[in-house]
Amino acid sequence: MFWIYQILHLLVLLSLIVTALAVVRFKDLISAAISLGASSLLLSLEFYLLRAPDVAIAEAAVGAALTTAIYIFAIKSTEREEGYK
């Protein structure tokens, strides 16, 4: 039964890397903020797999929900596209 956890860890960590790269690569800042929320949700899943449910709840609530909302409000006040004019 132990190898199931190994494969789950591997899948979660690989998708964490993919979403973290997507945050850097996106030119659309709303997409980058949503991608950061997905990365944070995967990080909270990893905390849960490492048997820290308390940290996982805090990470899911603060990282995935609240900071995404705050980033979206900040992007609404500025430009949506990343660029140098």
């Binding site: 308390d54 709840i57 909302a69 705050i70 979206i72 992007i75 430009e79």
Partner: protein, 160 residues
């Protein structure tokens, strides 16, 4: 700034707000038994507020309400700590007395009883009030100050 998203978004948000808020209140009230507690439950309730604000815009005028709720939570926390000062700060003077949250904790394996915990439960409630109010106030102020850029093309702009 006041805005409103499309009807699909507002309906889904209205349906989902109540379960998220109730789950957060569950996390606060069961903080001494299960994972979670004042901060985590308060953050979950504040995320339901974030859903409501993103869907419906920064409606109303809530700065006074949220500020007073935050002050109430902090004052409750400090008073709770100071009432135990005959022994130490945060002495658990309610545990095992049979009064509010003061039932005897049975020994051995048990499913966990919510009527235990003493001042820890009350502290979780105070911290939960403070965190709910503070995070909601941050979100509401940022939404109030933010501009009206086009997030969606189907979004119908509502002027203030």
């Amino acid at each position: 700034m006041n805005w409103k998203m499309s009807r699909v978004v507002t309906t889904i948000a209205d349906v989902l707000v109540a379960p998220i808020a109730i789950f957060g209140i569950y996390l606060i009230l069961h903080g001494h038994l299960t994972p979670g507690g004042g901060f985590q439950g308060g953050a979950v309730v504040a995320s339901s507020t974030a859903l409501l604000i993103i869907a419906h815009g920064a409606f109303g005028e809530h700065k006074k309400d949220l500020s007073s709720l935050e002050s109430t939570g902090l004052t409750l926390f400090i008073l709770l700590a100071l009432f135990g000062l005959g022994y130490t700060m945060f002495y658990n003077y309610l545990a095992g007395t049979g009064t509010l949250f003061g039932a005897e904790v049975p020994s051995g394996i048990n499913p966990g009883y919510i009527n235990t915990g003493g001042t820890v439960t009350l502290m979780n409630i105070a911290v939960g009030m403070e965190v709910i109010a503070a995070l909601s106030l941050i979100l509401w102020m940022m939404a109030k100050r933010s501009g009206s850029m086009d997030l969606e093309t189907s979004r119908s702009e509502v002027e203030e």
